[in-house]
Symmetry: C2
Subunit: 238 residues, 2 copies
């Protein structure tokens, strides 16, 4: 039976901050923990969006490819979409207004939430992290230049999470969401949007199942300065 109350996360944001971009879990294994989610690929090769059990990789060229089961993932969060979740119809709202409304209406602050939005966006603006080569730099360096993409009048799906700020460092604090269009040829990490008309569903998740790559030597030996992690997350993610 599908567990509709857990967000499963492999890897941590702090690992990316430390330059640990090597994939450490095959996609096929990740997908045994959920059919929806977001993340990145080995070597920070683009933005990952998982919808209906299919994993799409939006690459720095803007191209979208369906990922193969053996692709290794350094960092991703997944959950099982509750298809019976209540939907709210929303019209004419931008990303900031919608974030504010979701957080306030659901009193999200201290709890994990999955967010799914299907609709028509009069504007969608994304960015995609560029693939890195070994020896990997730190995240702040890797994310200094990131290709951005824009489309108007695009129909598609947003998948994302609200994570309490208590888990900042393990996860991204607050709302973090990715987009993929219906044609599966445009998407990425969301910078901003204007939703023309869409259905929003949110799913409260009681559990964060945080998995760590305990057999990965670079991770085991990494010296992570946690004071710095917070500062560098702010620099790289915002």
């Amino acid at each position: 039976m599908k567990d509709l109350t857990t967000v499963y996360q492999h890897g941590t944001l702090a690992m990316l901050v430390a330059g640990l971009f090597e994939g450490t879990m095959p996609l096929s294994e990740l997908l045994t923990h959920g059919d929806s989610g977001i993340g990145t690929a080995d070597s920070l090769d683009g933005e990952l969006v998982i919808v209906d059990g299919k994993a799409y990789q939006v690459r720095e060229s803007g191209e979208v490819v369906e990922m193969t089961p053996d692709t290794k993932i350094p960092f991703a969060s997944v959950h099982y979409d509750d298809v019976d979740a209540e939907q709210t119809h929303i019209e004419n709202m931008n990303d900031r207004q919608l974030q504010e409304r979701l957080i306030k209406d659901h009193n999200m602050f201290n709890v994990f939430y999955a967010i799914k939005i299907t609709g028509t966006f009069s504007h969608m603006h994304t960015r995609v992290v560029p693939r890195q080569e070994k020896p990997y730099p730190k995240l702040t360096v890797a994310t200094k230049v990131q290709p951005e993409f824009e489309q108007d009048q695009v129909h598609g799906t947003i998948v994302g999470y609200f994570m309490p700020y208590l888990f900042l460092g393990a996860a991204v604090g607050g709302i973090h969401w990715h987009f993929i269009n219906d044609a599966r040829d445009f998407g990425g990490h969301i910078l901003d949007f204007q939703l023309a008309s869409g259905d929003v569903s949110v799913q409260v998740l009681e559990n964060l199942n945080q998995h760590l790559p305990v057999n990965n030597t670079p991770f085991r030996d990494a010296q992570m300065n946690l004071q710095q992690v917070g500062d560098e997350i702010n620099e790289a993610e915002h």
Copy 2:
């Protein structure tokens, strides 16, 4: 089948810091996730030590009682003890020396570990958090005065965890361990000890399953200042 790779945690340390001492999960439910662990009881009523599937509550009087299944728990971590884990025999070592050795030998830094020590302690020094009344104070106030207990030549068991500092706030960072003697009439949160002779086993845990009391209104409405959480944990736990 028992999952030997997961530490399950109900509640967070940050909730205690904020004065959320109300029990939110029955012990019976907690024990479906492990047979070993540590925590506290409703209203911060003493120190919890779980060994071999039995949960002992060390109260501020020093008395030890076996907890009933319906007791509500605000914060606890549990796992299934791996009875086949390799054991290391240790003689004449104090708590600081043993902590240093365990962390270094196992390269614990970035990963979750369960630690179990069975042996004879030439000295064991514990403390017990005193039961609080509603309206609950903050943790720093509740822990200002805590009864301490000492015994020499005592045989018993230590149960505890190493948690990466990345999860400080959700959990206690570093090593946090509790003691219960064989006679089950002395124990508590460990301040210091001298181990005369004992067997130490450690268990690497790939997963932290963090469960939150999503239906508890005081938790949902709590405004947690996370900058302050770090400072107050240092004040209350050290």
